[in-house]
Homo-oligomer: 461 residues x 4
C-alpha cells in the first residue's frame, strides 16, 4: 500500500491540514522517511514531488536542524560496512573486473544517489550548492562530516564541469537583479553603490562571468578588467568612479583587477583559470591592439607571514634571512625606527608609515616581498594563495608595487603592497609546466636581477 505520508503529499492541496481530523489522519512524513522513499523508488514521477518537498523543508530549517540533516546523511546514508567487507574480500580473492565493479558500488555512499535525486525538480541545483555551503561552515565544529562533504564536492565537480558553463559579458544592458549580485559579491575591492558599479561597466572597462544553465541568474565567478595605458602600479585610479573615460584605442593594457568566486558551495570546483584564459581570447578579438594582459593583485598573507617570520615562527623564512635581505638599508632603518634588527625596524616603520619614510620603505620592502611571494609550499603551491593561482596559470611575476592600495583593509594585510602578474598568451603553458614541474618561477628581468642578487638568501623559487 501507498504510505500515509505520501498520500498526504499527493493529496490535493485543498485537502491538506483541513481541520484537526485531517491532520490526525495524515501525519506529515519525517525528513528521514522522505529521503528513504526517494532513494528506494524506481525513478517514478512522484520522485519529483518528494525531492521538492525535501528541499522546501531544508530551506526552512534552522541551523541546528540543518546540522541534524547532515548527521542523518552521515549515519543512515553511508555505505554498508558489511557489504563493503564482503565485496572487498571477494575482490581480494578474485581480482576480477566484476568483483571490482561490485566493490566500487559497495563503497559509493547511498547519499550520492540521494543527492542526485534531490536534483530532479527544476531549480534544485542552487539549493544543493547552498547545502554544501552550509556544510562547509559546519565542518569546523563537526569534522566527522568530512565524508558527507566529499560526496557533495564530488557531485558538484561533475555537474559544474567547465563544458557546461557559459561565459557572458556583464555590462549596463544586463538585468538589474544580476548587477545587484556583483555589488553584493565583490569582496576584493568593494563596489560602493550603483554609480560606482556603472563606472566599472563603462566603455573602458569589461566584466565577464561564468554561468551554469541550472543557475542562470547566478554569476559563479566574475572578473573585472580595466583597459588602461601602461601597467598600473596603484589601484585607486582604477577604482575612481569619477575617472575620465579612456578612449579605447589608446589603451594598451588590460588589467584584471578583481576576480571573485561567488559561491562558497562551489569551493574547490575551480574555473578561475578558464575564465582568465577565455576573457583574454575575447579581448584579443575585440581589441587586438592591447599588448599587455596583467593583474593588480593583493598579497593576502604578507603581513601575517612577515610578522610570524620575525619571531621565528615561519618555517620558510627566518629573522636572519630577512635582516640579510635588508642589509642595504639596515643602518637607515635602524636610525629611523630605533629598532636593532633590520626586520623589526622595517615592521615598525611600516606600522607607523610616516610620509618621510616612503622612499626608503619602497625600496626596502621589495626584496622581502619577493622572498615571501616565492616561498614554496609544495609542487603546485607557494605560500601566497593568489600567487599560487596566477603562477600555476602560467603567469609571470612581473612587479611588486609598494603602497599600491591605500585602503585600510589592504594596508592591514599587506602594508598596501600589490603585485602585477603578467599573462603572456604564448608563454602560459611553458611557465605553467616550469612551475608545476617544481622549481622555476617566471620573473620579470627586474625581479630576476633582484633575485639573482639575493640568491644565496632567498628560498629556492
Amino acid at each position: 500500500v501507498i504510505p500515509r505520508w505520501l498520500q498526504w503529499l499527493l493529496a490535493p492541496a485543498a485537502g491538506r491540514g483541513q481541520g484537526e481530523h485531517a491532520t490526525t489522519d495524515r501525519p506529515e512524513a519525517s525528513i528521514h522517511e522522505l529521503c528513504s522513499t526517494l532513494l528506494a523508488g524506481d525513478g517514478e514521477a512522484s520522485a519529483i514531488v518528494i525531492s521538492s518537498e525535501i528541499l522546501r523543508r531544508y530551506r526552512r530549517m534552522t541551523a541546528e536542524h540543518k546540522a541534524d540533516f547532515f548527521e542523518l546523511l552521515q549515519q543512515d546514508f553511508s555505505p554498508d560496512p558489511a557489504a563493503i567487507e564482503r565485496a572487498a574480500k571477494a575482490y581480494l580473492n578474485s581480482h576480477s573486473s566484476s568483483d571490482l565493479l561490485r566493490l566500487s558500488q559497495a563503497v559509493e555512499a547511498p547519499r550520492q544517489e540521494l543527492l542526485r535525486r534531490l536534483n530532479l525538480a527544476p531549480r534544485s541545483t542552487p539549493v544543493l550548492v547552498a547545502m554544501r555551503s552550509d556544510l562547509l561552515r559546519l565542518l569546523k565544529q563537526r569534522p566527522h562530516l568530512f565524508a558527507v562533504e566529499a560526496d557533495f564536492k564530488h557531485l558538484l565537480s561533475s555537474w559544474f564541469n567547465r563544458g557546461f558553463l557559459s561565459l557572458r559579458r556583464i555590462d549596463w544592458n544586463t538585468p538589474a537583479h544580476i548587477l545587484e549580485k556583483l555589488i553584493n559579491y565583490e569582496s576584493v575591492h568593494e563596489i560602493r553603490g550603483w554609480d560606482d558599479l556603472r563606472r566599472r561597466l563603462a566603455e573602458d572597462r569589461r566584466c565577464f562571468a561564468f554561468f551554469h544553465p541550472a543557475m542562470p541568474d547566478e554569476p559563479l565567478i566574475f572578473v573585472e578588467v580595466a583597459l588602461v595605458k601602461d601597467i598600473p602600479a596603484r589601484v585607486q585610479p582604477l577604482l575612481d568612479s569619477r575617472a575620465a573615460l579612456m578612449p579605447l584605442k589608446e589603451a594598451d593594457t588590460a588589467v584584471f583587477y578583481s576576480i571573485n568566486n561567488t559561491q562558497l558551495g562551489l569551493r574547490g570546483v575551480s574555473f578561475g583559470n578558464f575564465l582568465i584564459k577565455q576573457v583574454m581570447e575575447e579581448l584579443q578579438i575585440e581589441c587586438p591592439w592591447i599588448r599587455h594582459y596583467v593583474t593588480l593583485s593583493p598579497m593576502p598573507l604578507f603581513a601575517e607571514t612577515l610578522r610570524a617570520a620575525l619571531v621565528g615562527q615561519h618555517a620558510g623564512l627566518m629573522p636572519a634571512q630577512i635582516d640579510a635581505l635588508l642589509a642595504d638599508w639596515e643602518s637607515e632603518l635602524r636610525a629611523r625606527s630605533g629598532q636593532r634588527a633590520a626586520g623589526q625596524a622595517l615592521l615598525t616603520l611600516l606600522d607607523l608609515a610616516r610620509p618621510g619614510d616612503l622612499a626608503l620603505l619602497t625600496e626596502a620592502i621589495v626584496p622581502v616581498a619577493l622572498a615571501y611571494l616565492t616561498l614554496r609550499q609544495d609542487r603546485t603551491h607557494v605560500t601566497d594563495p593568489v600567487a599560487s593561482f596566477h603562477l600555476c596559470n602560467g603567469a609571470r611575476l612581473f612587479r611588486i608595487n609598494p603602497f599600491a592600495d591605500a585602503s585600510a583593509e589592504h594596508r592591514n594585510s599587506a602594508f598596501g603592497c600589490m603585485v602585477n602578474y603578467l599573462y603572456e598568451p604564448d608563454q602560459l603553458e611553458i611557465h605553467h609546466e616550469a612551475f608545476v614541474s617544481g622549481n622555476t618561477i617566471a620573473l620579470s628581468p627586474a625581479l630576476e636581477k633582484l633575485h639573482a642578487r639575493h640568491r644565496a638568501i632567498l628560498p629556492p623559487g
Copy 2:
C-alpha cells in the same frame, strides 16, 4: 620541459606542418599521450585544447580505431589493483571513515576523471554521448569492456539528471533543423516527409521533447499526442496526414501514440516517465476539459513470445495454457485452420489473416494477449517492455485492440494488436506502488472480468 607534442598543439596554426622539417620536428602526440597529459594536469587552461584535440581525433576514427580507444580506456585507465589491495586491507583493518574514503578513491577508475575532463570544451557533451553509443554497439563483440561502459553510464546519468532538462513544445514554429530530427528519429510510426510531419504538429496534435542545455539542438526524447474524441482502437486514423482537424473543444482524450528515445548513448538514463507526467500537467492547464490520458501502444514481443510458447520454449506460458484460454473458440479455430491444437490453429489463422476470420480472431486473441501482457519477469518488469514501462509509471492496462495497426511491421511483431494504457492522474502513485510491490496489475473492469474468468489459467498478474 613542455613536451614536444604539446608544443605542436600550442604552436600557432600557421606554423603547423609547414614544410617537411616542421613535421619532423614536431611529431604529433599519440592519443594515449594526450589522454595521459590531460589526466595528469592540474586543471590548467591548456586542458581545453587537449580535450578538444582528443575529441576531434575520435570523431575521425574508423570503427576499428574507436575499439582500440576503448581498449586503451580499459587497459591504461582502470584503477590500480595494488592500490585497491592496499586500501581494501587498510579498511578491513580499521573500518575508519578516512580509510573508506581512500578505498572509494582507489576503486574509482581514472577514466572517470578523464571523461569529465574530456567535457571541458564547449560542444563536447554530444561527442561523449556518441562515444557511449559506439561503445554499446561494440559491447556484444567485446563484453570485457563492460566496466568502461559502466563508467560512461554513471557519468551520463549524473549529467543528464532530470533537473537539468527542459521541456519544450515542438510545433510548426520550431526551427527546421530540429523538426528534421523528429523525422529521422521517429521509429514507432514512421514520419513520411514534411507534409506528414506538419499534420502531426497541427492544432489538434501536440509534441513535446526534453532538451539538455549542453545539447540544445537535440531532442533527447519526444512524445507525440493526438487530441481526439473517444479512446482510439486503431492507429491509422491518428496517422492519416489528410485527416480533418478536430476542433480542440470537442476533444475529450489525449492519446500518447508515439514515444521515442533518440540517443542510444543515453540508454538506461531514463526520463520517459517524467516526460509523460509533465506533458499531462501541461495539457491539464491548456485543455482542462480533456478527460482521458491514454496511450495506443505496440506489443513488440507478442508474436515472438506466442510462437515460442506454442513450442513450449517460453517459461511463463505453455501450449496447454494457451489452448485453455482459447477453449471457447476451439472448435471454430480448428475447423477453419485445419490445425488440431487451438493455439496452433490461432497462429495459422493469424498468419493467413483472411477477412472472413476477423470477428473470430478478434475475440480469440484478447485473452491470449492479456496472458502475455501480464507475464511477470521480476518485481518491476513484465515480459512486454512497453507494458513494463507504462505499468511501472502507474498506468492502468485499459484495452487490448486487435487489428489496431495495419502496417506490415506491427502486423509482424504483434499481429497488429495494440494496447491502451490509461493514465489517471490521481491513481498513478497507487498503481505504481501496487505494481512494484509485487503482484497487482491495474486492469479496466472489462479486462478485470476476463482475467477473473481465466484466473486459474492465467499467470499471476
Copy 3:
C-alpha cells in the same frame, strides 16, 4: 555626372580629407545639397548613406544651426504656391477625383517625403523624434515654423500608431540602462536613486511601459502601480522606499500613482489611455481578486486657478462663487485669518498652514476643489489637464484628498491636494460617452451629494 559631394560621401573613408589637395578637390556638400539630392533620388541605395549623413550632421549642430535647418525646411521644402494655385483652380473648375488627387499632392510639403527618407537608415527614428522635440522648444521664438512642426507631428502620429507599440513589464529583471531611464524620466514623484527604484519595482508594485520597435531601448510612456489595501488618501506611504511588502493576496486596490510621457518629441501623439486600459487587463488576469483600479493624481493648476479666481481673473469661477461655496465655514475662516472674504481667508490659511487649522481646511477646501475640477473648457476638456485625461478615459471622479502630498512641489501647485479617479472596467465607455457628449461628469456618491448641495453655485459639470 555624379556630383562632387557625393563622390566625397562615397569615397572610401581612408581617402577623405587626406592632405590639403584632397580637401580642395572634394568640398563637403552643404546640408541643403544633401537634402535636395535625397529628395530628388529614386529610392536608390545611396539614399541610406545620404540620410545617415544628414542625421549625423544634425546631431552635431548647435542650437542656432538647428534653427537654421528648420528654417531651411520651411523656406525650401514647402509646397510650391504656383503649383497649388494651378491645382486649386483646376479642381474648382472640374471637381474631379483626379484633380483632387493632384491638388492633394500639390499641398503636401516636399519636406514630408524628405522626413520619410531621413528614416531610411537604421536607428534614425529616435533622431527624428529628437528633432521634433528641438522644434517644439524653438516654436515659441519662431512661431512661423508651425507648418514644419505640423508635418513632423503628422508623420510621427502615423509611425507611432498604437498597433506598432508593445507593452512590456518593467521590473528588477529589466536591463539597467532602461531602468536608469525611469529614474531620469520620472517627473511626477521623483525617484531618489536605485534603492528607491527597487522598492517601486518590488512584488507589490507594477510598472509597465509602451515601446516602439524602432526605439527598443526607450520607454515612451510608463505607469507605476501600487497594489495596496483600500483606496489611498495620501501618497507618501506609497513612495516610502522602506515600506514593508504587502502580501499580494491581501491587496484589493491597484493605484496608478504616476504616469509619465518620456518623449517631448511625441507630444500630442497620445497613448496614455491605451496604456491604462491595457495595464488593467493585465492586472485582471494576474490578480483577479483586485477590486479597485484607481489613481492618486495631482491637480497641477489648482492653486494658480484659485488665486486667479479670487481676483476675478478666471472666467469660470468668481470670488462670489468661492465665498458662497465656503459659506459653512465662513466665520471660522475669517476669525482665524483676519481676512474678510471667505475665499481670501481660505487662501491665507492655506499659505500659512498651521497644524491647528488642518481639520477646518480639510473640510473647506473640498467644495472649492470640486468646483475647480468640474470647470469645463470645451466638449472634451475641463480646466485641470489631469482631470481631462482621466474623465475623457471614462474614469469617475471619486475622492478629493486634502494634504495628500506633503512634498514642497505639490504643496505649491495644489496645496497638497490629490484626487482619486476610479476606473470601473464596465463603466468606462458609458462615462466616456457621457463626458464627451457634453455635460455629465461621473462622481462618487459622496461627491455627488456635495455637488447636489452646491448645484446652484457650481459651474455645470
Copy 4:
C-alpha cells in the same frame, strides 16, 4: 447615450446572442456605423475594440462585400467638396501658411485617418496589407476607386519605410512556418518541396529577407544567392537539388538568382534595391574573397516584344531593324527555316528549336536581345522591367545567355534567354546616375563592342 451597437460590442461575451430577446434588443452595428464611430472618437480605449471588430468582419466578407466596403470608403470617407472649395478659395485669396494648412487638411480624405485607426489593435497591419491587395485586384473592374487605393499606398509607404525593416538571414535554423512561406512565395524558380528548399539553404547558398516588426512572420521580400565559381551562364545547375556542395573558400561569385516580392498589398512600396545592397554588404563581411556580385535574371517580355516588333506593332523596334541586326546570319537563317525575312526566320527556328540549330541561334539571338534590353521607355525605365530594376540600381548589363533556362515557362517568355547584371560596389552610384540622367547604360566590354558595331541600328541605350 452610448449607442446600441456599442453596448452590444461591450457586453460580456456570455450575454451575446442569448435567446431571441437579446438578439432583438441589441442589433449588430453596420460596418458603416462602426467606421463612423471609430473616426468620430477621441482616441478612447474602446477604439481598439471597434477597429478589431471591423477587421474581423472584413476578413469574413465575400469578394462582393469587400467591393462594397471599398465603395463605402470612396463615397462616405472622401474629403468634403464644399470644405475643399471654401479652403481653396481662402488660400487663393490669402496665400497664407495657415490657410494652406487648412487646405491640406481639407483635401486629406477622412479614410486616411480611418485606416490609421484600423491599425490600433495588435496584428492589424497584415489585414490592412491584405486589404490593399484585394483592392488592387478589384481596380481593373472599378477604376474609379483609384483615390482609395492612393490613400492605402500613401499610408503603407510611410509605415513600411526602410528604417523600420530588419534584414534576417533565412537558413535551416529558421522556424518551419517561415520556410514554408518561401516555398509558397517563390515564383521565379519554383521550389519543389522541402528537399529542394534544404539545398537552397545549404552552406554554399544564402537567403536573406526583409521583415517588418508588425508582420514578424512574413518575409516581405527575399533574395536567394548561390556562391559558385565563375559567373554562371545557365540556371539549372544552380537549381539542382542534388548538386554537390561547393567549398565556400573556392567560390568567387555570388549569384542573386531569385528575388521575390511576397506581398501584392505592398506593390510600389519598393525595397528590393536596399535588399541587394545590404546583402552585398553582409557577404563582403562574411566572405571577403568573393569577387563578383551578379544576377542571373529572366527577360520576362522578350518573346512577346520580339513577336510584336516583327509585325511592326512595337514602337521602338521595327522588322527592318531586326533584320539588319541579323545580317550576319541572314542566309543561314533563311536556309534552315524557309522564311524570307531574317527576323521571321529567327523566330521560326526558335519555336522549333532543333539541336542542330543551337550554335547558330546562340550567336544570332544576342544582338536582338541586346536591342530589346536597351529599349528605353522613359528616363528611369527600359522596356524590360527586370532590366529597369537592376540598371536603375546601378548594375552593369554584363552578359546575355541564350538557352540559359530549359524550363518550359522561361522558354516561353524569353526563348530560355537569361541575363547577368553585374553589381560592382564602387560603380553602383556612377552607373545609377548615368542611367537616370538619361542615356548611358553600362555594358560589359563584350556587349559594348557588339553595341558599337550595331550603333547605327540599335536604339540609343
